[in-house]
Symmetry: C2
């Protein structure tokens, strides 16, 4: 199984990039991982947000394959704890899924078409996080999920 | 009103320190803020975890004053969204509380005596986060709470 982590826009905060890099490196001990920054659409005054999100959504959907298991981070999603996420990933692994794609939206969110494509819509918290921080948190949770699955110590 | 953010141990990951520093700077636009790293107790083989946590707990409790409003981050706590946290902080501000103390535990958690002292036990998510990341997340949420209270734009 491979993992593809998709975000919208480049992560601007250097410290978040550093944190994500640390977790992606650790995740790669367990499976091949690619990360992909989808080009952000410019939001200009007077431009409808739905048009911006639609463009970004089309770019995201173009990167997905029919057989992908798609996880979308969204506030409307289901809540689970870290063990639940690990158990879910373990089922996907043993079910022979070829690729899991985890998608985090941009500053303005995600177009409904992306959410509709999701096999799992996941909410990290009832709290609202900046999308860059959300990308760090999900990287940490994926790493944690593997340590839970394998019963290995969590390395800081 | 003043804010005191207490953590156990120094934050080791430089990138997390940088992120926290960015948020504390922004929080200080709104109110005086101090941060305090409580000395970690060494966990040596064979030593009971409860002894470690008790020592750390005593150090935390020694820093608190009777009139403090104490928020403790803990997985057993209540879940709230960012607007709810902002509304709660606004009530504390208008209620004339002199100081809010927000406490994040260390690698091994927190002693029950600290949780018992809490006026509010708060859970950031059903997911388990590393305590250093939790310190970053709560700093971000406190900053966000002020932008919500004041109706000001969230600056990245």
């Amino acid at each position: 199984m491979k993992l593809l982590m998709i975000g919208v826009g480049k992560v601007r905060a250097a410290y978040i990039r550093e944190g994500i890099a640390g977790y992606t490196k650790r995740i790669k001990r367990y499976l091949p991982l690619d990360t992909l920054d989808i080009k952000e659409e410019r939001q200009t005054p007077g431009r409808l947000l739905s048009v911006v999100l639609k463009k970004e959504g089309e770019r995201i959907l173009a990167k997905l394959e029919g057989a992908d298991y798609v996880v979308v981070l969204h506030e409307t999603g289901t809540h689970t704890n870290s063990r639940g996420l690990a158990a879910h990933m373990e089922r996907l692994l043993s079910g022979g899924k070829k690729r899991i794609c985890i998608i985090t939206g941009g500053a303005y969110g995600l177009h409904p078409s992306v959410i509709e494509r999701a096999d799992m819509v996941l909410s990290l918290s009832e709290m609202t996080f900046p999308h860059e921080l959300a990308r760090l948190i999900i990287a940490e949770q994926v790493y944690r999920a593997f340590t839970i699955m394998r019963g290995e110590p969590y390395s800081h």
